[in-house]
Amino acid sequence: MKIEVKKNILASNDSIATANRELLEQNGVTMINLMASPGAGKTSVIIKAIEGAGDELNMAVIEGDIASEVDSLTIEAMDTTALQINTGGACHLTAAMISSALEHLDLAATDLIIIENVGNLVCPAEFDLGETARVMIASTAEGHDKPYKYPLIFKEVDMVLVNKIDLLPYCDFDMDRFRSIVAELNPGVEIIELSCTEGTGTGDWSRWLLKSAAPVSG
């Protein structure tokens, strides 16, 4: 007798993501999934987070990259735990990759994990990692019409950082247009204008992180 089974031998991405989320909740850890195009400023934004909130929060960084480990070396140089995941060609991280990374962290002693997802605006948005919040970076040089081209990611995030505002005088990025397109796709989403090179807005970014990672009391 033949029995049709059609069952995955490994658990699905969503069920692993749920397990990650439960594990983090048990340990009181906040995990941020940071997504952006290549070069938008993900690593720079993480560096600002460490500078601005590293004294108050025990942070760890998970670096997702297709092949290299330059970004995790940068973070380690700041005395912050950095784990490198090379996706080997895949354009996004999966919950299973994060699950293995979490095994290497002392979760009881960690308040905040920031994941630098692979530079890409399409695929990462489709994969739940078990994060507490999703943050994306749009940089001014990419143009204000990005949300039209990649609506899913703009709909899914809890926070939009507009980085490289120091370049506004040199590009045709229209902040009002951008804000209204984003508000249309994701009403009420918070937007912070940032310049990592000049430090503008980095205080707001650290305050948001401190608020998100604050231990829930009572």
């Binding site: 007798m1 059609k6 069952k7 031998i9 060609g89």
Partner: protein, 113 residues
């Protein structure tokens, strides 16, 4: 090492499914395995021999069905066959692509008697 866990999981599914069907001895198990899945079938076979002893799957044949790898470039949309994990798009050389098939790992069917 991972193959050990995978084999345990195969046996768990096989036992549940065979019992649901009223039991009996398992003759064969068809496992679909994508070209890009990192699991080695010889190694699953090896653990299977050991772990299936004394279960209803003891002596069953493991049949592996391979699925060819297919990917689509996230930059230019070209479809291609990634031959290894550090491949880049043959059209535009972008290293960023979405794997459409080739990462499968599931039990397709069982033969029991």
């Amino acid at each position: 090492m991972h193959e050990y866990a995978v084999t345990e999981s195969i046996l768990e599914i096989v036992q549940t499914e065979a019992e649901k069907a009223g039991g009996g001895q398992v003759e064969s198990i068809t496992v679909v395995i994508g070209e890009l899945s990192t699991f080695v079938d010889d190694s699953i076979e090896f653990y299977f021999q050991a772990l299936s002893q004394g279960t209803i799957a003891e002596g069953a044949t493991l049949i592996f069905e391979k699925v060819e790898a297919r990917a689509v470039c996230c930059e230019c949309g070209m479809e291609f066959k990634p031959t290894n994990i550090y491949y880049s798009c043959p059209g535009c050389h972008s290293p960023v692509f979405e794997v459409k098939q080739g990462q499968e790992l599931y039990i397709d069917n069982l033969e029991i008697n």
